[in-house]
Symmetry: C2
């Protein structure tokens, strides 16, 4: 298999983009990435698209040829492939595109993720979110994603003596990071007190423990490493790209405070990249609920199980720490347009490694990891990216 690099990135602002359609934002991110990579339409061999629920959200299946068409690329008749993996749709599209370039079948591939969540009512959006969990065995009985994460949070607090304030600290840190990110959905700083006093969603989780539903799109361009320098002076090498799965249902798990898919995918990725978690400078990980970040830090082996809360209360993982976690603002502040999330996480690492992360730049960073989840840990996608010196 060939080595593969990222040679361009693009993204829209994340937020409530009511004046623009799914197509508009998909194309905006795509064209920005194409411009960034300084490629033309003739260079592009294929398009991979990650989106979770376009059929339910905008009554449009088969978005792959439509985005190609709308981008003015249909006359080239290039392959266009949609991947769906719940909230990890973008991350899994990236993984498939990586395999396609690594295999030698394609050279230059565009990978985009997009979702438009704020044009439907919150009820509809909640039902669609629940449709990534097991409808027959769990969702049908009324459980929501928030209430399942609340169960996890209660169990984690009970088992590891994790403090409520540690969860709040996740939101505070990520909003602080988002305040330095001009594409973030939320760019306001918040306090631990505000999180603790926010309206309850499912106890112990309050409104400020939950990532928003957002509109947004993000795109990256892939190329074989050996030709990447033709396009950019700062190619970012993909050291590893891995997936692991788990049951869709929570009640079948051996331990709801641990996502085995994250443990297994990250172990494989560390092996492939030949590094340990202590070498990571940057991590963009799943914080759709504040408890999720705590679990992810532990499952990625950044701390021992049960220790992440304490580390957070000690002020760890802010910009400049090793690793700096969710410097983009994470799903909590940067935003959560499902299909775009996995690509946006990669865009953030590339921005950091190429010195384009505005005031939140982590100096000297060389290695970053992205961690994207679909369902409640039923799929985890890990990518390890490295600056090529």
């Amino acid at each position: 298999m060939r080595e593969v690099a990222i040679i361009g990135i693009g993204e829209t602002k994340f937020g409530e983009l009511w004046d623009r359609s799914f197509r508009d934002i998909g194309i905006e991110a795509g064209l920005k990435a194409i411009n960034d990579a300084k490629i033309t339409s003739n260079d592009i061999n294929a398009l991979y698209i990650g989106t979770m629920a376009s059929g339910s959200l905008i009554k449009q299946e088969h978005v792959s040829p439509i985005l190609l068409d709308y981008a003015g690329l249909s006359s080239d008749h290039i392959p266009s492939i949609r991947i769906e993996a719940g909230e990890a749709s973008g991350a899994l599209a990236f993984h498939q595109a990586y395999l396609a370039v690594a295999s030698g079948y394609y050279n230059i591939v565009v990978v985009g993720g997009a979702e438009k969540l704020t044009d439907v009512s919150e009820d509809v959006a909640r039902d669609i979110t629940s449709s990534t969990s097991d409808q027959e065995w769990e969702t049908f009985f009324g459980v929501t994603q928030a209430s399942q994460y609340a169960l996890i949070a209660n169990k984690h607090m009970n088992t590891y003596n994790t403090k409520r304030e540690a969860m709040a600290e996740v939101a505070v840190k990520n909003h602080y990071h988002g305040s330095m990110n001009s594409t973030a959905h939320f760019q306001n700083k918040i306090t631990v007190e505000a999180v603790l006093k926010s309206p309850p969603v499912s106890t112990p989780l309050g409104m400020l423990d939950c990532a928003p539903l957002s509109d947004g799109a993000a795109t990256v361009i892939l190329a074989p490493l050996d030709i990447a320098r033709k396009f950019t002076d700062t190619p970012i090498k993909i050291q590893a790209s891995t997936i692991s799965t788990d049951t869709a249902t929570l009640f079948h798990r051996r331990d709801i405070c641990t996502f085995d898919s994250t443990i297994l995918a990250s172990k494989k990725a560390y092996d492939l990249a030949g590094i340990g978690s202590s070498q990571l400078d940057l991590v963009e990980l799943n914080d759709n609920y504040t408890i999720s970040e705590i679990i992810a830090i532990e499952d990625l082996n950044i701390t021992k199980k049960g220790e992440a809360g304490k580390e957070l209360l000690n002020g760890r993982y802010r910009i400049g720490d090793k690793p700096s976690i969710n410097t983009s603002g994470g799903l909590k502040a940067h935003g959560q347009p499902y299909g775009a999330v996995g690509i946006a996480q990669i865009v953030e690492i590339v921005k950091q490694l190429t010195g384009r992360a505005e005031k939140r730049t982590v100096n000297g960073a060389e290695i970053g990891l992205t961690h994207t989840i679909g369902g409640i840990g039923s799929v985890s996608v890990i990518n390890i990216l490295k600056r090529v010196n």
Copy 2:
């Protein structure tokens, strides 16, 4: 890239399977294929699933971990990836799985397609079908897929003097083939007169010119060719697997009687396989409407443009002819469970090449081609399969 072979197949009956769920049929086809390939769960490296509209049809996104879970495979935590490309979802899942094995990343991969179309009302099913065309530019104004194919049929009749009876002959031939296929949705023979007298859907197309909406699932197992003989004495080699796209909208096309995506994907496939269309023994092609088969025969370069109707009226393409077309019964008689169609076409070729096609076996056949379409020719997927002697 490595050479890849098919080492096992499985499918459900196609039809109105009201006593079984999406999961039930997905698992039935999967386990049959696993048994056919004589592999165990330990051998499986990944699962690829093609399904078009599970979010709209059964309110379940993220079916990839759910099918894995339901099959009892979740404890292995293997990657599970869903691809969506409208009615070509299964075919595109196969293509991606092929790339993943060819790249060396995986060895044994299970590829399944499934759809459950008869548990919703016909109105809902029709709207979902239309969601694979461009909603903003065409469907919104009331056009349906049937009326667009009727436009194509009228234009083809006018331009090439194609006879109404030639279209009817497609349905008659494919029902004749389906009458010898125990998994077919329709196993009754029909006459040209019956097609011509069938209730109008969109003139000139009558009810018997239209493929049914079906429930069904199909699965194949892939392996690198060099280890395929460990599992089977009759591996079927994938000589080529290609995709091409076109505009989602019909009004943007240079010629609505030709699908450029089919022309381009098949040319590339013939080149990769080092064969011409005259060497094909078997072809499973898109006949969602009878006019579709005529266009596909021409676009695949099996005849010159405008000649397919005459050939059909001369009795060509029945079992035993070279090529024999839609020996399974095609979408018209074998059935049309969208996500499963592309895989079912491959299953039919494998059955034929391994002498398992019941009374419809084409003796001495060595090379087969599958042609699957998503939208109205907005994506075409071509696979060329060959018996390894």
